[in-house]
């Protein structure tokens, strides 16, 4: 499959049929909570709640969630270490006086925030989120371009993988110089494919009456009062718990 693991998880999630607005409220609340509370215990609580929600009721595969979290984790680790290393003063680099506390705080906020965004990403397909942009007064044309990006992404990723596989089989990546030449040809092939696709799609859609835009009827995903209440109560409870603890 040429699918992206996070996208596959979103379409298969137990929360797929929940209203995107509900999930945005929940995850947005958790992101903000993770950012504004002290890392201990606030962000830690947020992180725990997010992981519990993702692996529990939302039924996101643990493997997908953890693998996706590796990317932000790598950045956060490198970034946090760099932030707390001290280069000024004499005697070369050393740790800042409060390095451990600062790094801990930075890592806590960032990991919890990233996890909360990942919860949204692994439960809500892009195509459910884009209509929300329209409600946020982003122009239709922009939302439509974004939705075409989403569809063509998979078509082009499919081409990318197949072409690269064909090049590899014909020894196209057997040295650095060959790898460069193959990658250049690969990029060019994907770009020209994307142009051809767009042109042919244009004809296909004109045949279906396209005149001004690419309007489609979004699915009806009803909002749940219980979920909304939980989305407000959860972060609020974390705020209370955090302030009691500190």
């Amino acid at each position: 499959m040429t699918g992206l693991a996070v996208d596959d998880a979103a379409w298969a999630s137990a929360w797929r049929r929940r209203a995107p607005g509900d999930k945005m409220l929940l995850c947005g609340g958790l992101v903000v909570t993770a950012l504004v509370l002290p890392a201990w215990p606030g962000s830690a609580l947020v992180g725990a709640v997010v992981v519990a929600l993702a692996l529990g009721p939302a039924r996101v595969p643990a493997r997908t969630f953890l693998r996706a979290a590796r990317w932000p984790a790598a950045f956060i680790a490198v970034g946090a270490v760099t932030a707390v290393v001290e280069v000024g003063g004499g005697g070369g680099p050393g740790w800042a006086p409060d390095a451990a506390a600062r790094a801990g705080s930075l890592v806590g906020h960032a990991l919890a925030g990233s996890a909360a965004v990942l919860l949204l990403a692994t439960t809500t397909p892009m195509s459910d989120l884009l209509p929300a942009l329209r409600r946020a007064r982003v122009p239709d044309a922009v939302v439509e371009v974004a939705s075409v990006v989403y569809r063509l992404l998979f078509v082009l990723l499919g081409s990318l993988h197949t072409i690269r596989e064909a090049q590899t089989a014909r020894m196209g990546y057997s040295s650095v110089a060959r790898s460069y030449r193959s990658s250049g040809a690969l990029a060019a092939a994907v770009l020209t494919r994307s142009w051809d696709r767009a042109r042919r799609m244009q004809e296909g859609l004109a045949g279906r009456g396209m005149e001004t835009g690419l309007r489609v009827l979004p699915e009806v995903l009803p909002s749940s009062w219980a979920f909304l209440a939980g989305s407000v109560a959860g972060p609020a409870a974390i705020v209370v718990a955090s302030s009691v603890a500190t």
Binding site: P72, G88, L129, V145, A146, A187
Partner: protein, 217 residues
């Protein structure tokens, strides 16, 4: 490297969002105008955005054996111009945040400023200046694409330094630290992305001359 969700203090995240906004809005206006004049361009612009996303998934072969990914915005800046790339780049960053967990939502503004504004504008400026200096297409493409990559990471380093100045030496020290970690290591990769750009355009000049002419390259 995209700045991860939650890494920037709230004030910085908001500040960079405000800084990127005019460029992205300007790009959105350009896109709206283009689509109003020619409805079919929605598909071409979507294809350009999808290509930018996919280009950043191409593994950049590196001499050291490890490999990294290009930013993907340099060729787009030359082909589709920086205003459009400001918007497409932001859309791509949103997709990267939500499909690949690269970057984040509160840090989208900061990342957009580096990847979709400074990178494409620097790259495009380098491309135009190199051409104006009488150089051929390929040296200009190399300069444009490599500098778009490098400028992106210099900007990221600056953003991080501003948020986390060095305890002793302040902003300058912080900048040196983050440049050392995020930009200096990027120099070979920027050269790599420049080379990839040249190879890409070399194939395009043979395979897709009419398209290049239409895009005014």
């Amino acid at each position: 490297m995209h700045i991860a969700e939650g890494f920037l203090p709230a004030g910085h995240a908001a500040g960079w969002t405000i800084a990127a906004a005019p460029f992205v809005v300007h790009g959105a206006r350009a896109v709206v105008r283009e689509v109003r004049e020619n409805p079919g361009s929605t598909l071409l612009l979507g294809a350009a955005g999808a290509f930018t996303f996919v280009l950043s998934a191409v593994k950049l072969p590196s001499v050291t054996g490890s490999s990294s990914h290009p930013t993907g915005t340099g060729p787009g800046a030359i082909l589709f111009r920086p205003p459009v790339m400001a918007l497409l780049g932001t859309v791509v960053l949103l997709f990267q945040a939500l499909l690949l967990a690269h970057g984040g939502l509160t840090t989208l503004g900061a990342n957009a400023f580096a990847f979709a504004v400074v990178g494409p504008w620097t790259g495009y400026a380098a491309y135009r200046l190199t051409r104006a200096a009488g150089a051929g297409l390929m040296p200009a493409v190399f300069a444009g694409v490599a500098l778009a990559d490098l400028a992106t990471y210099v900007t990221t380093s600056f953003q991080l330094a501003l948020a986390f100045p060095d305890a002793e030496s302040g902003l300058v020290g912080g900048l040196l630290k983050f440049l050392g970690v995020f930009a200096v290591t990027q120099i070979p990769l920027a050269i790599g992305e420049g080379l990839l750009g040249v190879l890409l355009f070399r194939v395009l000049t043979v395979n897709a001359r009419p398209e290049l002419e239409r895009l005014g390259v």
